[in-house]
């Protein structure tokens, strides 16, 4: 009897968890026409792997004062926001993640627990900043003054490994794998046939990141297939640190963590998907093979619409999209 009930529940899951149970992102903006926020929404809707997950995105128009944004470090061009108020307001409505589009004529943004961009910046900058929210690191070359802040041994992230190669090299690729794969967050996505060494297995690295070749933005429904295999590619992020530090990335092509016209690259796509899954964000079209996979999400049964919460005192969210 219990088994039958369980099976019946599993059969019903696809009908029920497709809309009301999505991971909720709220884009707060003070731009009057909300144009940039809509661009950001579309970027998430169309960019792999975000497009493959049950993510519900709303745009919430608010007064400028509500965003608590302003110049930072005495520089009018460095815009930062105190996000406590909007994070609290969003939490009261069941929102998982806040993003901010600030109406401002300077190009820029900030990455942290809440991603912020200015209205003049490209929408892909929000993807970049949100990837920081998920823990991904910058892949561009830091100046020496910047490297001081980041290039410690603990700088590794889902898209970046800090590995100092053996001065004497390696006996072969297997030896390098045995020594270093535990330090590579995306190691599970490197195929056995992809070497993580060159020069006959003696030198660490599948190759080097080529900043002149950008990963193709992926608006399809499958992982990026163009470009190099996922491997261990030497980057330039901390080469200006004192002393210089070797950093490694999953793709040969420069990604959106270096250039905003680039895509995530296959390695970063795989890591972002893994992070989202670990956060309980459900993939679209989850196979109903078992309860544990079918309910691979934060499942909610909403009893009232977001905008009926009495604590919401600003304009109601619009443009909700999945």
């Amino acid at each position: 009897m219990k088994m039958h009930m369980k099976s019946f529940v599993i059969l019903l899951l696809p009908f029920c968890i497709s809309s009301a149970f999505a991971y909720k992102i709220s884009i707060y903006t003070d731009q009057p026409d909300e144009v940039k926020a809509r661009d950001v929404l579309n970027s998430f809707k169309t960019t792999y792997p975000f497009s493959q997950f049950e993510i519900e995105i709303e745009i919430k128009s608010v007064a400028s004062a509500s965003l608590n944004c302003g110049p930072r470090l005495g520089n009018d061009r460095l815009i930062g926001c105190d996000t406590q108020d909007i994070t609290r307001e969003a939490a009261s409505r069941g929102v998982d993640q806040v993003l901010v589009v600030k109406d401002n004529p300077n190009y820029g943004g900030s990455g942290g627990s809440v991603a912020v961009i200015t209205s003049i910046s490209p929408s892909t900058m929000m993807l970049h900043e949100y990837l920081h929210t998920l823990g991904l690191r910058d892949e561009y070359e830091y100046k020496a003054s910047e490297a001081v802040n980041y290039c410690s041994d603990s700088y590794s992230g889902p898209n970046m490994a800090m590995i100092e190669p053996n001065p004497d090299g390696y006996a072969n690729d297997g030896a390098a794998r045995g020594q270093h794969m535990g330090q590579v967050p995306w190691g599970e996505f490197i195929k056995n046939e992809t070497l993580i060494t060159n020069n006959g297995g003696t030198k660490l690295g599948t190759g080097m990141v080529n900043p002149n070749v950008h990963a193709t933005p992926n608006n399809t429904n499958s992982p990026g297939r163009l470009g190099s295999a996922i491997g261990l590619y030497e980057g330039r992020t901390c080469k200006n640190a004192n002393p210089p530090k070797a950093t490694w990335q999953p793709g040969r092509e420069a990604s959106i963590m270096e250039f905003l016209d680039a895509g995530l690259g296959a390695g970063n796509e795989a890591m972002v998907a893994k992070i989202l899954e670990s956060r309980g964000v459900r993939r679209k079209e989850a196979p109903p093979e078992s309860v544990s996979t079918a309910v691979n999400s934060s499942i909610r049964r909403s009893s009232k619409p977001l905008d009926q919460n009495p604590e919401v005192n600003s304009e109601s969210p619009r443009n909700i999209a999945k």
Binding site: G80, R88, N106, S113, P122, S278, V295
Partner: protein, 145 residues
Amino acid sequence: MKFSLCFIFTILMNVSHAEVSSGCGNLLNTVMKYDPVKKKASIENFYFMDEEFCDLGTKEINANFDLVLFDKNKKVLNKKAVFLNTMTVIELLKPKSSSFGKNKVVLAPQFRNVKFSIIGKKVNIVSYKIFFKANQKLIGEGVVQ
């Protein structure tokens, strides 16, 4: 049609609750705060919501904090490993280009919404503790308000 099926689903989820998912309960949404200067964390706000929530995101792969909720007998009611970016990095773009320019770190407090699945009454939760995941150092504790 869809609504009806969902209604049945909801009933069955309640009937066979323990069978379907052990992580289901009522939704508690919270605001976690981390102060990178003081290296202290807290839960600033608690929102108990009239929604069912099955939390399968309790162990984020790159988690750097452990959040633990306790009852009045200091028994662990809920534990969650989460990632919170501990600093704000302000990045400037080179105008009309896809390249980044200046980059500055701001050590401002960070806030993140963290959801819990709460089984039983909300009054059962009375306190919390927050630990750095790397060394299990206690960096924040408080009572549920």
